[in-house]
Amino acid sequence: MILKKLPYFFRKALSNIRYSMLVNLVTISTISVAILIFSTFVMIIFNLTNLVSRFEDDVHIVAYLDDEFVGGNENIKKNLLKLNGIEKVWYQSKENALKVFKESLGENDLFLKDIQKNPLPASFELRLKEGYKDRKNIEAIAAALRSMGIFSDVSYGQEWLEHFHNFMNILKVIGLAVGGGFLFAAVFIISNTIKLTIFVRREEIDILRLVGATNSFIKAPFYIEGLIQGFVGSVISIIGLYFLYLVFMAKVQTLSLLGVNSTSMPFLPPKFLILLVAFGTLLGLMGSYISLGEIFKRS
């Protein structure tokens, strides 16, 4: 029954929109702006999260073997692999370390000529399993390594990542608050514009009632109106977001900043875009739901 009437509801909603064009334009632009602001935050957070996880993937621990220590490195390697959360272990001998160091210096290795004794320690590089790459686990592993008493030093470049994490969390909270505030405002404005369109059509609604229309029949086109507003608004905002993204990327590329390009900083993937549109549509629906609830309770 509802399905049979759906084409009618859509036609009705579209003619409502055409009839109160200005009011609808206001609503649609409100939704666009709200979703645009929200999705800008989503995109920033999305890209920073990507960045962090790429760095996190790279997290590893290097344990430098004490020069005093003499013993088979295969044995140590076996023991290291027994530790919790270790995926892979590489051994680098003193000689190898020196070779790598020399290679990195290239032509400038003059001052190494004077050195009699190889100053570089042998080391083990430990790759961590997924789920062990956070600060707590890394510190636990580092502590376990230190307690073995055979390493002169244990290092991991984790501290700054932690700071970055904190920064991300703050950004998420701000994004949620500002974006959420705008979304809330959008729902409020949508519900008010729908109230306005309902007010404009109250005579028609009265007549529909008198000839036997049910409440849901009267409400349905307004729901669809909100739905269309939300959908159109969020699609526009995504086009706007893409435009902003292109402008940003062009700017960044002329400055050749940090090797930023469309691979290292991609646009939001389709899954996110669909979610944003669905979200905007829901927003429009919510706006009409609120106003219809208020108005139909009174009559």
Binding site: K4, L208, R209, L210, V211, G212, A213, T214
Partner: protein, 219 residues
């Protein structure tokens, strides 16, 4: 079809506008409701299609008890009653065709059936050629006939017509009355509120007199 039993109606604790009305109208009848301005004709009709609740008493319309009707059932009761409103209640921003089609749209009827039925109803009131016009482009009598077309387009079992000839010249009034008696002849129960004595004399039908909210019937 319509049964009232000691029905009272007052607006917001005011005086009784309808007072102790009992009457019975059978299926297929044609009845005039006559009374002076302010006698309560419109109010009585409004009670019948639940535009106003009855204050006390019992009333049955199409097997619905008006005193106990569930608000959810009101739309369905209204669909079986065609109403020609005293002030027409046409939508000025919709074409004549669309105004008449409203009654069918709410039933979820498909567009072809709507087109067929609306065209037929407009033809019956002699306005088939006007379907693309807007109400304000029509004369009062033409608007009245659009209101009638909208009321009868779905072949209701009851037709309530509130002053369907109000302010029309006698010839047009007879035209409209002929339309109503045609509809009655096809099985619809018709109740016409009027204060037009001329019509009563020309169309000898059952007549209910209403005076200050009380009804009486000359035998």
């Amino acid at each position: 079809m319509i049964q009232l039993y000691h029905v009272y109606k007052s607006y917001q604790k005011g005086a009784n506008v309808i007072e102790d009305v009992s009457l019975n109208i059978d299926r297929g009848e044609f009845v005039f409701l006559v009374g002076a301005s302010g006698a309560g004709k419109t109010t009585l009709l409004k009670l019948l299609f639940c535009a106003e609740p009855i204050t006390s008493g019992q009333a049955m319309v199409n097997n619905h008890s008006l005193a106990k009707i569930n608000p959810k059932d009101i739309p369905y009761l209204r669909r079986s009653i065609g109403v020609v409103f005293q002030d027409f209640k046409l939508l000025n921003n919709r074409t004549i065709f669309d105004n008449v089609a409203i009654t069918l749209e709410i039933l979820g009827m498909n567009r072809n059936d709507i087109r067929r039925k609306v065209t037929k109803a407009l033809k019956r009131v002699g306005l088939a050629f006007m379907e693309g016009k807007y109400p304000l482009e029509l004369s009062g009598g033409e608007q009245q006939r659009v209101a009638i077309a909208r009321a009868v387009v779905n072949s209701p079992s009851i037709l309530l017509a509130d002053e369907p000839t109000g302010n029309l010249d006698p010839e047009l009034s007879v035209d409209i009355m002929n339309i109503l008696t045609d509809i009655n002849a096809m099985g619809t129960t018709v109740l016409v509120a009027t204060h037009d004595k001329f019509l009563l004399q020309k169309f000898m039908k059952r007549t209910i007199i209403i005076n200050k909210g009380k009804v009486s019937e000359p035998i």
